[in-house]
Amino acid sequence: MDYILRTVNVSKRYRADWVLKNVNMNIQRGDIYGFVGENGSGKTTIIRLITGLISANEGHIELFGIPSDSPEITAVRKKIGAIVESPSIYRNMSARDNLLMQSTILGINDEEKIKQVLCDVELGELYQNPKKAGNFSLGMRQRLGIAMALLGSPEFIILDEPMNGLDPAGIVGIRELILKLNREQGITFLISSHILNELALVANKYGIISHGSLIKEITDEELRNQCRPTTVIEATEHQALWDLLSKDFPAEDLLHLARGVRITGAVELNALLARIIEAEISILSVNCYKTSIEDYYLSLLGGGRHA
């Protein structure tokens, strides 16, 4: 398999506190890897390790097959673009000057490329604008940071909370950009985000981290199988409804609610409703929904709505 990134038993501690414990993460070429975890779970620490800002106390990272203790790792990092925590921009410079600085560091001198990446992140109008980046809105800074990450034509882009501070149109714009870059240029993404349902619209693989441990790596397909449809039926005679449904469904798929019953899994709704009506049970409401990644995530963490 063509792995862009592998972390092998990576552990990191700050003084006596282990903030990462034996993390084994695998990202293949072409993946859009959604990195999910609560605040302080270790997402940004992993990203810092990958980008070389910090080093691991135990284990190692392989980036494009090159281990982190190899001298070649520095050169390999040229293939990545990243926003870590917040965009690293020169606040006293304009958007164009920021990109010029980045292109100087990268050793590329291409005004067209600068113009193009600004247009890609919908900041094209700032190319000629001398407005300082320090006066940009949070969303504009975020987009400028993404433009800087794109400048070196990276094969692997790491975005730490890229949707932070973006308005709904901006979120859609970034989402479409990620999908377009992945589809057309085959760029691999690692995206950490708290907006899980938004992440679900782009990611095809997920890593769920909690308290410094990667508790689950799951593909989009596996997740879809995990996220089963749910039906909630409320009735006046909820005990009678429970008794009726208990005969038809396995106990683990049913949950007796205060005013009804929740069924997890696929149901033939028309037939089921007909049976309930036939049993002379008055239906108050019927709600059908599919559990989301959020539900799945919460269930993994041992709480939330997933039964």
């Binding site: 810092r48 070389g52 520095t74 990092r77 925590e85 020169y90 560091i105």
Partner: protein, 272 residues
């Protein structure tokens, strides 16, 4: 490395603080000769007295402009260290690491760019001081000869080497502290500490028994070897071997120490 150096130089030159430094450099360059001229006029010092007084020589004003404890000599490194530290406080140093630059390259580029800017700014400041002072005072009491020119060039080289050392100190402090305030406070503390030590040795040397040649020699070396005191550079007409060694050894050793310290610390340091 060249790309990093270019970007670091651009970063420093584009910073508003550099503009502030340039303005202050010109103001301070004008202050010393104008104040000295005012003193000469106010105290009605005639030509004979003037030939004896060092403050009425452009040469002294020129080399005093390089003084580390002096106005611009203290301010400029502080301003440059603030600009260098911004790379850490704004997190822009991350871009360089992510772009595949090694930490050694990043540190050395910061040191070299700081050195270039500090040396160029100090040289410009001293030259402006010289130009303004030449409007009112002669270069020196004695006629300007070929040996005076050679002495000027050597002194200039030593003065600039002093600022290479200063640049190494602020580069090391910026990676050690990663915090503008702390780096500035530490630099000022180092500057004051060595200036105080220099003053103490100068005062103490007055009370030493002139017969005690060994103690006299030790105190003389202590004064000459203190880079922050500027007791030797540009103060005479030629340099003895002891002078050269006293100037070069602490400056070169200090620069090397700061670079090694900066490189070692930065290589291991976790960055946010």
């Amino acid at each position: 490395m060249r790309e990093l150096l270019k970007s670091d130089l651009r970063r420093i030159l584009k910073d508003k603080l550099f503009l502030v430094a340039c303005i202050l450099g010109v103001i301070f360059a004008a202050i010393t000769p104008l104040t000295n001229k005012l003193l000469v006029v106010a105290l009605d010092i005639n030509g004979d007295t003037m030939s004896l007084s060092s403050f009425a020589q452009s040469k002294d004003m020129f080399f005093s402009a390089f003084s580390l404890g002096g106005n611009f000599g203290l301010l400029l490194p502080i301003l440059i260290s603030i600009i260098l530290c911004k790379d850490f406080s704004h997190g822009t140093v991350r871009n360089k690491i992510i772009c595949g630059k090694s930490r050694s390259q990043i540190f050395l580029s910061s040191f070299f760019s700081g050195t270039i800017v500090i040396c160029a700014a100090m040289l410009a400041h001293a030259l402006i001081t010289l130009m303004i002072s030449l409007l009112f005072f002669p270069y020196q009491a004695d006629p300007f000869t070929a040996s005076s020119f050679l002495y000027l060039l050597i002194s200039l080289l030593f003065s600039l080497l002093l600022y290479v050392f200063v640049s190494a100190i602020i580069s090391a402090l910026s990676v050690l502290m990663k915090n503008t305030g702390l780096a500035v406070v530490l630099f000022v503390a180092i500057n004051f500490l060595f200036t105080i030590i220099g003053t103490v040795t100068t005062v103490a040397s007055i009370f030493i028994d002139p017969e005690d040649s060994t103690t006299v020699k030790i105190f003389e070396i202590l004064q000459k070897a203190n880079p922050f005191l500027g007791a030797v550079i540009g103060r005479g007409t030629s340099y003895s071997l002891t002078d050269v060694l006293c100037i070069l050894i602490p400056v070169v050793a200090g620069t090397a120490l700061c670079i090694v310290l900066g490189l070692t610390v930065f290589k291991k340091k976790d960055l946010k």
